[in-house]
């Protein structure tokens, strides 16, 4: 079994009209055994920047700690929050540092940049950035997620419709993947507020 499929994960981020949504599943497993059904994969870096880390859970925890450390230092030096584009470059650099002994993680980064323009990107485990204008996916359920998002996505959706779309795309995709699921965690971010919702899907 691939090391990326050891713990199981599903991540998706979508762009809407002046807003974005980022969602993950909640299962933490050890190959075929489910250990937890409330595992957090999406982390807040600051109010307008979220990162989801799929892949090996231990590396996503280590990588998150390193990124928070770097961002806090940045905040102290620059006296402001990091822009999403900058943060994505930082993540890419940190991942490529370990080119010949990588972190087994695939990050999904979503944020509101200058003038609250939504920004999403994903990268592979050695930091190859993939910018997209509509949606990005990662995890063991990524192939199902690509299909679901492609068919359900419309450009310039408002916040409520975006939430519905991303939730349906996530739940239908993880139902086809035995290693991810047990509900969903959705963060909906607009320039004025951040909403966090827990989805109940098939609990298996």
């Amino acid at each position: 079994m691939s090391i990326f499929e050891y713990n199981g994960s599903a991540l998706v981020a979508m762009v809407g009209k002046n807003c974005f949504a980022i969602a993950s599943d909640r299962r933490l497993g050890v190959q075929l055994q489910t250990v937890a059904t409330d595992f957090q994969r999406i982390y807040k870096i600051h109010d307008k920047l979220f990162i989801g880390l799929s892949g090996l859970a231990t590396d996503s925890q280590t990588l998150y700690q390193r990124l928070v450390f770097r961002h806090k230092l940045y905040q102290l030096r620059e006296e402001r929050d990091m822009k999403p584009e900058t943060f994505a470059s930082l993540v890419s650099a940190i991942l490529y540092e370990k080119r010949f002994g990588p972190y087994f993680c695939q990050p999904v980064i979503a944020g509101l940049g200058d003038e609250d323009k939504p920004f999403i990107c994903t990268m592979d485990s050695i930091g190859a950035k993939e910018l997209a204008k509509d949606f990005v996916v990662a995890g063991t359920a990524s192939e199902s997620l690509y299909g679901a998002c492609e068919s359900m996505f419309k450009p310039d959706m408002e916040a409520e419709e975006l939430f519905e779309t991303i939730s349906q795309a996530l739940l239908s995709s993880v139902d086809r993947d035995c290693l991810s699921g047990w509900g969903g965690h959705v963060y909906l971010v607009t320039p004025t507020e951040v909403t966090e919702k827990i989805l109940k899907g098939r609990m298996d």
Binding site: L28, V35, A36, A57, T58, G101
Partner: protein, 204 residues
């Protein structure tokens, strides 16, 4: 293979481990204590390679004591769990410790807590957790019978149910188990469940 499991009740946490020390087909002893008492209110049940287990748990125990000497106050369970994860994560890509850990503790402010720490340093706070082949039986029994805020008697009843399952359904079932409990009065040994005593002379 070694079984360790634990659960959280009302104002206490329990950790149970089997007590056989095995090398290949030979059972060296059946009263090995695999649950280290880290300090007055913390228990660390560990399973995995014998040398790593003994060495690593002692290392954590001494560092927990050192913190208390240096700072005058004990570490919280959460801090201990994160420290343990950090040590495992640092060693992971050099010389990994093959030890799975269930850390249970009682803090005055936050009450009882239980942490699941994989040998590859995945950390998660849980109400019930298990490692080893016995986990397949222990987790299923706990999924069926566990409720939040159980009393000590109810929890021990559940623990005994798990032990019965492991003994009857696992082909190389360990005969003896040790149960330790941690609550506001401290961490202590609660009971042994022995079906074979060392030095016992069995009639042919």
């Amino acid at each position: 293979m070694e079984s360790v499991f634990g659960l959280v009740g009302k104002d206490f946490a329990i950790v149970v481990a089997d007590s056989s020390a095995v090398h290949s087909i030979l059972v060296h002893k059946t009263n090995e204590d695999k649950i280290m008492v880290l300090d007055s209110h913390k228990l660390m049940g560990a399973s995995g390679e014998t040398g790593d287990r003994a060495q690593f748990t002692e290392y954590i125990q001494k560092n927990v004591a050192l913190y208390q000497f240096r700072n005058g106050i004990p570490l919280t369970t959460s801090a201990t769990a994160n420290f343990t994860r950090g040590e495992l994560a640092t060693a992971l890509r050099k010389n990994p410790y093959m030890v799975n850990i269930i850390l249970a503790g009682y803090d005055k402010e936050t009450g009882p807590s239980l942490y699941y720490i994989d040998y590859i340093a995945s950390l998660h706070k849980l109400d019930k957790a298990a490692f080893g082949y016995g986990s397949y039986f222990a987790l299923s029994m706990m999924d069926r019978h566990f409720r939040k805020d159980m009393t000590v008697e109810e929890a021990i009843e559940l623990v005994d149910k798990c032990i019965v399952e492991i003994r009857s359904r696992l082909v190389v079932a360990p005969p003896n188990f040790v149960i330790k409990i941690v609550d506001k009065d401290g961490a202590r040994e609660y009971a042994w469940r022995q079906s074979i005593k060392d030095g016992q002379v069995l009639a042919a």
